[in-house]
Amino acid sequence: MDKGLLAYLIIPLFAAVVIPFAARNRPRLADVLANVTLLAGLANLAWLALRPSMIAGGFADIPGDGFSLLLVAAIYLVALCVTFFSAWFIEEGLPNRQAYYSLILVSVAAMTGVVTTSDFFTLYVFVEVLAVTSFALITTDESAGGIEGALKYFFLTFPASALIIVGLSILMMTLGSLSYENLRIFMSSDIPSGPVTFAAALMLLGFVIKSGVVPFHAWTPDAYQGAYAPVSAHLAGIVTKISGVYAIVKIATLLRFFDGRATAVSEMLMFLGLLSIVVGALAALKQTSFKRMLAFSSISQVGYIVLAAGLGTPLAIMGAVFHLFNHATFKTVLFLNSASLEKAAGTTDMDKLGGMEHPMPWTSWTSVIALLSTAGVPPLSGFWSKLLIILALWESGLRTYAVVALLFSIVTLAYFMIMQRKVFFGRKSAAAESASEVSAPLLAPAVLMSAVIVAVGLLFPYFYTYVRVVAERIIL
């Protein structure tokens, strides 16, 4: 456990316990407590990583491997946007309102645990805590859709947990330790490759299911569509990335130390990544529900991260880390905007919307920024991370992969163009006549995240320096 970051785990956990008691008679207090906890954490992180002396020093003094810190920042950022949004989005009288905030904070604590731990068993425990909280969060929406989504999530991710625990046991039996440090040493030494490869493959399979990579993606659209809109932003933006993709990146970097004795596993991972990009993008083209389209888009974008993680060169890891962060920002914007649409127009069915840019200009423009970044249009942040991934693929001689990954940006752009035409552009629909822009507090998170997207894109050299430090520390 990275002890320097332990406070980021304990404080939200503490707040989660306090909220139900403190806010029993004053429901607004739950909003305040959750937001203040996360905001304080974020301010703290910003000071830790973004103070001028740190930037001037090229981030050399970043505590830990830097990866944890970046991801904790992403977790706090997304969670803050979600709780801030929820404070105005979820009606005050709802019975499980306090529970909702507690669950969000527990999931923040669990995610922090996942990214700060230094051994696979602790990681597994926190991933399970995360799975339970997500399951409960999806059911906060008590409609049939919420229950269906939650059940699908449950039935598909718990077998995945079983696979992971079997893999962990085999690893434990063969190597006698599960800490990253020891694994790294074992991997570089002369150990029998069979059981380790098998264990790694099982674990990867489990995490691939958890991150919703094709062909194990069936649960994601239903879960995202069924849940409350802010919850789907939370899940798609950060939870599935931490519970699945983070571990994939971690295992893939460890496999690199295995001296090419597990190339089949890495190649399989890359293939699944590419398949995700292709299938997710093509499926997103056909969706009529905004949230489902975003879910498929999420599958497609996770494909890029998995593809880069499978490749595992330093440049690819940089691209994967960068894209993981970027994905959290732009997917949160889009999901929160879908929530705003739902609130303003009463539906997220794209066939019933149209011309929403007139009543909702802010929502429209933040969506444009986020979708262009997703499609990798320069100079926004998504362009740079995709470029790094594609350069890494090309550098390793995988030109077909690089070209396919690059050209599928056009499909990404195409489905977002369809979305933009149906929802925001185009002739005014009946929904647009009666709708009006949501209130400023609901817009604030999307505007903040859009600002992050633009800023990271324009300040690419600084971010690049940071992710290079990360890649150097977790690979070398």
Binding site: P378, W394, L407, P461, Y464
Partner: protein
């Protein structure tokens, strides 16, 4: 920083960042917003034109920000970039002024001004960038601005056409990015100054060419331009026909004209593609009946002549092609603005419903005729000299098949423009009630462009001396 470098950076930064201030200016009042937008346009033109003295003095101005992995942001003012920047900033400034009147009664005006200025800024960035990656970045930014502009009217048909425009051009741009990546791994740098005179592989050249052809609406990517030219307002189509398509031409001149030594077989391929493009689009212009579609097809056809000059590998032809960019921008701008006046006053785009308009719109008719003559290449208009230089240079290279294709294309240009003029201004009136002449500012701007075309012909010595000096100084692999 000395003055030229300041001018160089402001020419890019002021319109790019100024575009985002336009919505804020719009909060103050409409006249403030309009004045601000026009000022941005005029300032950009002044800044770009002020660099002419620097480059004529044999100097270049450079400005660089270091980026990791050789993605440095480099702005460079040399003869080619300053020439191109001045021409496009001039046309854009005219468009902004003309727009004041023209779009004053439509929705989404603030977005329109913001996007035109953003487009102008991205164009400046593209032209001045001396790093392929940053060319690509600005390339996509222009694509974004044009997406919003083509979708200016928000009917489903317009938005579908806007989406077609951006998808075609972004697809091309992604192909170009593949080409850029190949160059990156072949040479280890994307700095065009370092790449001067280097060789380029067929794969990279072909990928980059795909991007160029998609942006400049040449076969096989030509279909978006007539669509983009029809759906939105005239000013938007003008922006596309007179400025946007020149991006592709500029990129060709920059990448294959003055940086890489393009393989001969590659240049030949470009010649045949351009020849086919000239013929097909001229044919389309001959049979279409929509005035703006005809002019848009004419643009596709004329762009092919520029490619002929650039790809011939001959100094005279290359200089002629550069002049062609200038002449075509001015003359085609005039034609589009005339079409705007005609459309606004007759309320139709169908040339069969016009006829005999010369009696009621004499000034527009004269301006239209003068601009047409320049596009046809009749002496003493500027268009004659550029076409003549392109042809004489290409003839020295001696590819008879290509020359014949282009000769046929030139004859067809003559035919479709005469037909267009006859159908609109001469002949019998077809069911209209003699519409009145356009407003004073509009007629003044088209007459100005027509007379500039004539003046450029009379003073051809200066631009042609500039183009020849440029070719001699910067050209790579030219005979």
């Amino acid at each position: 920083m000395d003055l030229p470098i300041k001018m160089l950076t402001t020419a890019v930064a002021v319109p790019v960042f100024g575009a985002f201030l336009i919505p804020i200016a719009a909060r103050v009042s409409v006249p403030v917003r309009n004045a601000f937008a026009v000022l941005l346009g005029l300032f950009t033109f002044t800044a770009a034109a002020s660099l002419l003295t620097t480059v004529l003095g044999g100097q270049t101005a450079e400005y660089a920000i270091s980026f990791p992995r050789g993605f440095d942001f480099i702005l460079q003012a040399d003869m080619l970039s300053v020439f191109m920047a001045s021409v496009s900033a001039f046309v854009s400034a005219v468009i902004l002024i003309y727009s004041l009147d023209y779009i004053s009664h439509y929705e989404n005006q603030t977005e329109y001004y913001a996007m035109v200025v953003l487009f102008l800024g991205s164009m400046m960035g593209l032209v001045f960038s001396a790093n392929l990656l940053w060319m690509y970045v600005f390339w996509e930014m222009t694509g974004f601005a044009s997406w919003r502009l083509v979708g200016f009217f928000r009917s489903d048909r317009d938005v579908a056409k806007a989406n077609k425009t951006i998808l075609v051009t972004v697809f091309g741009a992604l192909c170009m990015l593949v080409g850029i990546i190949i160059v990156y791994f072949e040479h280890g740098t994307l700095d065009l100054r370092a790449l001067h005179g280097a060789g380029i592989s067929y794969a990279a050249a072909a990928c980059i060419l795909a991007g160029i052809l998609s942006k400049s609406a040449t076969l096989p990517f030509s279909t978006w331009l007539p669509d983009a030219g029809v759906a939105p307002s005239t000013v938007t189509s003008l922006l596309h026909a007179a400025v946007l398509v020149k991006i592709g031409v500029y990129a060709y001149a920059r990448i294959f004209g003055v940086t890489f030594a393009a393989p001969d077989a590659f240049s030949n391929l470009v010649l045949y593609l351009a020849g086919a493009s000239a013929l097909v689009s001229a044919g389309a212009a001959l049979i279409d009946t929509d005035i703006k579609r005809i002019i848009a097809y004419s643009t596709v056809s004329q762009i092919a002549f520029i490619f002929l000059g650039l790809a011939s590998g001959n100094k005279t032809a290359f200089a002629g092609a550069l002049l062609y960019i200038l002449m075509h921008s001015v003359a085609k701008g005039g034609l589009f603005l005339c079409a705007g006046i005609i459309e606004q006053n007759t309320h139709t785009k169908d040339i069969n419903k016009m006829g005999g308009l010369f009696a009621s719109m004499p000034w527009t008719g004269v301006a239209f005729a003068l601009c047409s003559l320049s596009v046809m290449g009749i002496p003493p208009f500027g268009g004659f000299f550029s076409k003549f230089m392109v042809f004489s240079g290409a003839a020295q290279n001696g590819n008879l098949a290509v020359l014949l294709m282009f000769f046929a294309g030139a004859v067809m240009t003559l035919l479709y423009l005469v037909r267009l003029f006859y159908k609109i201004f001469l002949g019998e009136a077809a069911g209209h009630d003699s519409p009145k002449e356009g407003s004073y500012t509009m007629v003044a701007s088209v007459m100005a462009l027509a007379l500039i075309g004539l003046a450029l012909g009379a003073l051809i010595y200066y631009p042609s001396a500039y183009a020849q000096l440029l070719t001699a100084n910067l050209g790579v692999n030219l005979q």
